[in-house]
């Protein structure tokens, strides 16, 4: 009896190993694509948008291409992100990893991707990610060096403002963006009226708003993660400060605008890789409607950028029969993909998108309209 039981258990164990253990056996049409993004913490707004975009792209995979995915939470720290990526890459033979929007976390993850030789598909704007010689980083929205041009040009040229206040947060994203905006403003011959870097978890913005008002600034630039931006918008309006505010893209996310009243958004504009919530081409509108139906929330440019990046990778899996990470890297490096929002092609550094929109709110709704589109040429300031 005992011998029979032992044999049964051994047999069960062997079956288990064959079924689930060891290196996963991947058929030509089934690949592993772990999603490594901030699901919790102060980046949950941005993380939710990009996670939705990635999941939707995977669910939209064409027939014959099967993607196995798991979601790994990077939380809010670089060490958390590095750990999450290691766990993801040790859970199977990933061909690519849709990864965090947070620059600080991407900086920690990039060397791991290079070590494992697995491409990361990101929507982080931090420019140095694709300018540090790492061939495994691919970005499906304009880097900050480009998109900040849209933010600044809109305020200076379209709104006619001359005395900006520049407020950034103390993350790598905030610091990187600040450097770009200082350079762009200097090139445009504009002096900064007031400048401050704040902690991303700062919650009382009344002292900051007071300082901005006392500086005589006529427009407020915000470049930071969504939570402090929403706080600044809300508290500035609550304190009667109605200066135009031109923000970075995460303020345009629906879960960020949900934190403020539509009236608070009057005079608020934001740069974004695209604006699916505002409609646009039939392709964008169709995608936006499906997104709304799938997730029950308004779409945003971050979700669409992540969707297109992952969809490009999936397209290349089907088209080029990609089964390994190295094949994926080569395909992303050389391929062109006509996505929902735009056409993607790497510039050799891994930056695959080079145009942007500025959207504005009219104070009656949380849905913005496209105020200005900037072509790739217009995002290069000579």
């Amino acid at each position: 009896m005992r011998t029979l039981l032992n044999r049964f258990i051994t047999g069960l164990g062997l079956l288990t190993l064959l079924g689930y253990g060891g290196t996963s056996t991947v058929s030509a049409a089934e690949v592993y694509m772990p999603i490594v993004m901030p699901i919790t913490g102060f980046l949950s707004v941005e993380g939710a948008s990009q996670r939705n975009g990635a999941v939707m792209a995977i669910e939209d995979a064409p027939e014959g291409v099967k993607i196995r995915y798991e979601i790994f939470d990077t939380g809010t720290s670089a060490t958390g992100a590095a750990t999450a990526l290691e766990r993801a890459l040790n859970s199977g033979n990933a061909v690519a990893v849709p990864s965090t929007v947070f620059g600080t976390e991407m900086v920690a993850m990039a060397p791991i991707a290079q070590e494992y030789k697995v491409p990361l598909l990101t929507i982080s704007g931090l420019t140095k990610l694709t300018h540090s010689g790492n061939p495994y980083i691919f970005r499906s929205l304009p880097n900050d060096g480009e998109i900040k041009v849209a933010q600044v040009r809109y305020a200076i040229e379209e709104l006619g403002k001359k005395k900006p206040a520049l407020i950034t947060d103390n993350t790598a994203y905030g610091q990187g963006g600040r450097g770009h905006m200082e350079e762009i403003l200097a090139k445009m011959g504009v002096d900064i009226a007031y400048q401050e870097e704040i902690a991303f978890n700062q919650h009382d913005m009344s002292p900051l708003v007071d300082k901005i008002k006392r500086s005589g600034a006529d427009v407020i630039f915000l470049h930071m993660v969504s939570h402090p931006m929403a706080l600044i918008v809300k508290q500035a309006r609550a304190l009667g400060v109605d200066l135009p505010i031109v923000t970075s893209s995460s303020m345009v996310a629906p879960s960020a605008t949900a934190l403020v009243e539509p009236a608070d958004l009057a005079g608020v504009c934001g740069e974004t890789p695209s604006a699916p919530e505002a409609g646009g081409t039939p392709k964008i509108e169709e995608w936006a409607n499906r997104y709304r139906k799938r997730f029950g929330v308004e779409p945003d440019g971050l979700a669409l950028a992540q969707y297109d990046g992952v969809a490009m990778a999936i397209h290349l899996i089907g088209k080029n029969n990609v089964t390994t990470a190295e094949e994926m890297r080569a395909a992303l490096d050389s391929g062109t993909y006509v996505g929902v929002a735009k056409t993607y092609k790497s510039d050799g550094n891994g930056d695959m998108a080079h145009d942007a929109d500025v959207v504005c709110y009219d104070g009656t709704s949380r849905i913005p309209t496209v105020a200005r589109h900037y072509s790739p040429d217009e995002l290069i300031l000579k």
């Binding site: 993380g47 009382d204 002292p207 304190l239 009667g240």
Partner: protein
């Protein structure tokens, strides 16, 4: 924005902090241990405001009675789960158990509401009143008024009613209170409920301007702790004073120097208080019989 306006906003922030600190000290006095879930109870009030707004899109002031009652119930649960089973253990055990309760609350918020932040409706309305150059926030005014009423009620109950005397007696000497026939366990449970209710009210007030999110209470417990240290460990009036000083200090120094300087200087002040007046500004010094 004028200095007066800045001061007014700082005062409003201080009043909300004072509710948190009052609740913190109430429990501290009753059980001689720190309730580290106090900040998470603030978030409970905020989240209740968010949830009620889905059902009834009314001003938050009308939600206040429900929030007070509901968070008070959470406070009772806290006392049953995190205090009474270990009440004969050292205070450090309560410290740990309330941290655990707080983590459970944080994860509960995330499970129900998701990880992203939410905003609570204004107490009455948003917007400002303009008096020439002076701009006064309606929400800040409402916070000051509402918090003042709650503090007045708390003071009246604690100082002018028999019930309040029983609560204070329990806090001062539990054994003697029991010997006099005061139901000590019930008084302690009610103290937890009252402390939680005050925290919940603060959450409803702060959640409009500062939003609520699962770990939003973490900084608030530190604020309450520092308020109690500055004002006087165990002093209710000291807790209010300490909270007001923290808010005004932070707002004014941040506005005229920087956020970093404000934080650094605040902790320097805490050290100075501990060094020169360890009993706090309104606390009573310890005496030893020679």
């Amino acid at each position: 924005m004028s200095f007066v306006q800045l001061l007014f906003n700082g005062f409003a922030l201080g009043m909300a902090y004072a509710l948190v600190a009052l609740g913190f000290v109430l429990v501290l006095n009753a059980v001689n241990a720190v309730n580290f879930a106090q900040g998470d109870l603030v978030m409970a009030g905020g989240y209740l405001g968010v949830a009620l707004a889905y059902v009834l899109p009314i001003p938050a002031i009308l939600m206040l009675p429900v929030v007070l009652a509901a968070v008070a119930v959470i406070g009772l649960v806290l006392s049953w789960l995190a205090y009474f089973p270990i009440m004969r253990r050292p205070p450090a055990a309560v410290f740990i158990s309330t941290i655990a309760f707080g983590v459970i609350l944080q994860n509960g918020y995330q499970l129900v509401f998701g990880p992203e932040a939410h905003a609570v409706r204004p107490l009455f309305s948003s917007g400002v009143w303009e008096f020439g150059e002076l701009i006064i926030s309606k929400q800040a005014t409402a916070i000051i008024a509402t918090a003042a009423v709650l503090m007045a009620i708390q003071y009246h109950v604690m100082e002018r009613t028999q019930f309040g005397r029983r609560l204070r007696a329990t806090a001062q000497n539990r054994n003697m209170a029991a010997a006099l026939g005061i139901p000590v366990r019930r008084m302690i449970a009610i103290t937890f409920a009252a402390g939680a209710a005050l925290a919940g009210a603060a959450g409803l007030m702060l959640g409009n301007q500062f939003f609520v999110h699962p770990i939003g209470g973490v900084n608030l417990i530190i604020t309450a702790y520092i308020a109690a240290v500055i004002g006087g460990w165990g002093s209710l009036a000291g807790a209010v004073l300490g909270a007001m000083l923290i808010a005004l200090f932070q707002v004014i120094v941040s506005a005229y120097v920087s956020y970093t300087a404000a934080t650094a200087m605040l902790y320097l002040v805490v050290l100075l208080v501990l060094f020169f007046r360890p009993q706090g500004l309104l606390g009573q010094g310890e005496q030893r019989r020679v």
